[in-house]
């Protein structure tokens, strides 16, 4: 199942690279779009050819029962598709037209695109450009197609990739567990609504989850660490929160990368997206309101207990209402580890630390806290949800002896 996982994750990375190449092409005003399109479109097959060459090296597991797998995928993908279409709005939800699709419309105009940087009121021109960049590229490629259709297509692709990647990762362990996972996503109305909303949160969730999956693979680690690096770069190029997730990921894995001599492939994967991200932030992006608004008074907020109570209430209410099944799974997971007197998995800690960091960011928020929480708390939880699901199911024992042995992990000293 590694091969197909690699292909699916590679499709997300390809979108990230296309978005960056398109953004860079806008710096060269004289460059005809045809040249940009040819470079990007030819890089896709080259990229997948490379991925295929690497994938062929895998000692991959055979899917023994292809017909049941295809039937199960067909049923659940049809369900997700039907629900997504029913929920989808013509222009997406607020952030879709106020931020992401708005930026895409500007980026699709090679002459006037810089005007988007002047939309400081509710336009967030400091946000990274993976989602608007890929929408803008395909909008132009398809002859000025409707931005919303392209945006929906990208959003929908990412939204179906997440459960399918998790399905393929779990299939080698247990067919039943893989089905349960698909059912979990197909019945999660909040997850499906986020996918249909045309927001960037699902894309960030995908890259973060993909980074956790990649760094855990036991075969062809060099390649998988390039992929992990690219996914972490993709997190940063998707949303500002992605930078936070990337730094936490690095804090957890940098020691392992050094020890296993895998820092080089990881950096190799991350270098291009991170460079483009830094270029955008240094040259174009105005100061982020959350960072630029910090002063001595915001530090005083750390001592304000009512802020902690309010954030806690929003977090618990959201978890109860929108992530109820996941909450039960987490409690079961923790109970199991308590009974077995085992430490929870490293990636479980990692995602939990991300959640705690989001909590602290709210404490330091310069926005009206209640408004800030009501508009974003559920989306931040959504960003971490697939990674948490992966962290939970990845502890399910792998029947293959060489993998099972590698899964043992202890807390670092």
């Amino acid at each position: 199942m590694q091969r197909i996982t690699l292909y699916l994750i590679a499709s997300g990375i390809a979108a990230c690279i296309a978005s960056m190449l398109y953004f860079l092409s806008l710096q060269l005003a004289f460059l005809p779009f045809a040249v940009t399109a040819i470079v990007i479109l030819f890089s896709f097959p080259a990229f997948f050819w490379y991925a295929r060459q690497q994938a062929l090296l895998f000692r991959d597991d055979e899917i023994r029962m292809i017909l049941p797998v295809v039937i199960v995928l067909f049923i659940f993908l049809s369900t997700i598709t039907g629900k997504t279409i029913a929920i989808a709005e013509r222009y997406g939800e607020w952030d879709a037209w106020a931020i992401w699709n708005l930026q895409a419309k500007y980026l699709a105009d090679p002459i006037h695109w810089k005007k988007m940087l002047l939309n400081t009121k509710n336009g967030h021109p400091d946000y990274p450009l993976l989602v608007p960049g890929i929408i803008a590229f395909f909008t132009r490629l398809l002859g000025n197609a409707r931005v919303e259709v392209v945006s929906f297509a990208f959003s929908f692709w990412i939204a179906v990739l997440i459960p399918v990647v998790l399905f393929m990762q779990t299939l080698r362990k247990s067919f039943i567990l893989a089905i349960v996972l698909l059912w979990f996503f197909a019945t999660d109305t909040f997850y499906i609504a986020r996918g249909a909303s045309m927001y960037a949160d699902t894309t960030l969730a995908f890259f973060f989850m993909a980074a956790l999956i990649s760094v855990r693979q036991q075969e062809n680690k060099y390649l998988w660490h390039i992929v992990a690096g690219a996914c972490i770069g993709g997190c940063s190029w998707t949303k500002n929160e992605g930078v936070v997730l990337s730094l936490i990921f690095l804090a957890f894995y940098v020691r392992q990368l050094f020890i296993q001599r895998l820092l080089k492939p990881f950096v190799l994967g991350a270098i291009f997206p991170v460079t483009v991200f830094v270029f955008f932030k240094v040259v174009y992006a105005p100061a982020n309101d959350m960072v630029g608004g910090q002063n001595i008074h915001t530090l005083q907020q750390l001592l304000d207990t009512s802020r902690y109570q309010l954030i806690y209430r929003y977090f618990t209410d959201n978890i109860q209402q929108k992530f109820g099944t996941l909450k039960i799974l987490v409690l079961l997971y923790l109970s199991y580890h308590l009974l077995k007197r085992k430490m929870p998995d490293k990636q479980f800690f990692l995602v939990s630390i991300c959640l705690a960091t989001y909590f602290i960011i709210y404490v330091l928020s310069v926005q009206d806290l209640e408004w800030h929480l009501s508009t974003s708390a559920d989306r931040l939880l959504h960003q971490l949800m697939p990674a948490m699901v992966y962290a939970l199911v990845s502890v399910y024992p792998d029947p293959r002896p060489h993998i099972a042995a590698d899964q043992q992990w202890t807390m670092p000293e």
Partner: protein
């Protein structure tokens, strides 16, 4: 070979979803729909590089966020400096006559106007 089936079914689901979305008619009505209808035709009189100053009379100025999306990649701003040579005014419908009188008295060139059941929209140019 077996992987091909899985990728094929994924691509099939994707294409089916995108097709269904692109032909979907029964979208839940949104506020943006109303302004898209109200602004119909305005884009044909405005080149893509136009900088538009935005003002409202008797309606919330927050409307700018929605109408900005309709006009992108043009710049629609609440500023009214020399950078902006075109003015978009949105008012409640009952103020239509007084606004038209004011524009005529001011000597501004009206380049487009429209109305719906609640709002009056008028684009004017500072160039006479």
């Amino acid at each position: 070979m077996k992987l091909t089936y899985i990728i094929a079914i994924l691509i099939l689901a994707f294409m089916n979803g995108v097709y269904q979305y692109s032909v979907k008619k029964d979208f839940k009505p949104s506020e943006l729909d109303k302004y898209v209808t109200g602004m119909r035709g305005a884009d044909t009189v405005l080149p893509e590089g136009t900088n538009i100053s935005f003002s409202t009379i008797g309606v919330p100025v927050d409307l700018q966020t929605r109408i900005r999306y309709i006009f992108a990649p043009r710049l629609l701003s609440l500023s009214n400096t020399s950078l902006y040579d075109t003015l978009l005014t949105v008012s409640s419908l009952h103020k239509k006559d007084s606004i038209l009188d004011a524009f005529n008295a001011d000597g501004s060139r009206i380049i487009w106007q429209n109305q719906d059941t609640t709002h009056f929209y008028i684009l004017s140019s500072k160039h006479k």
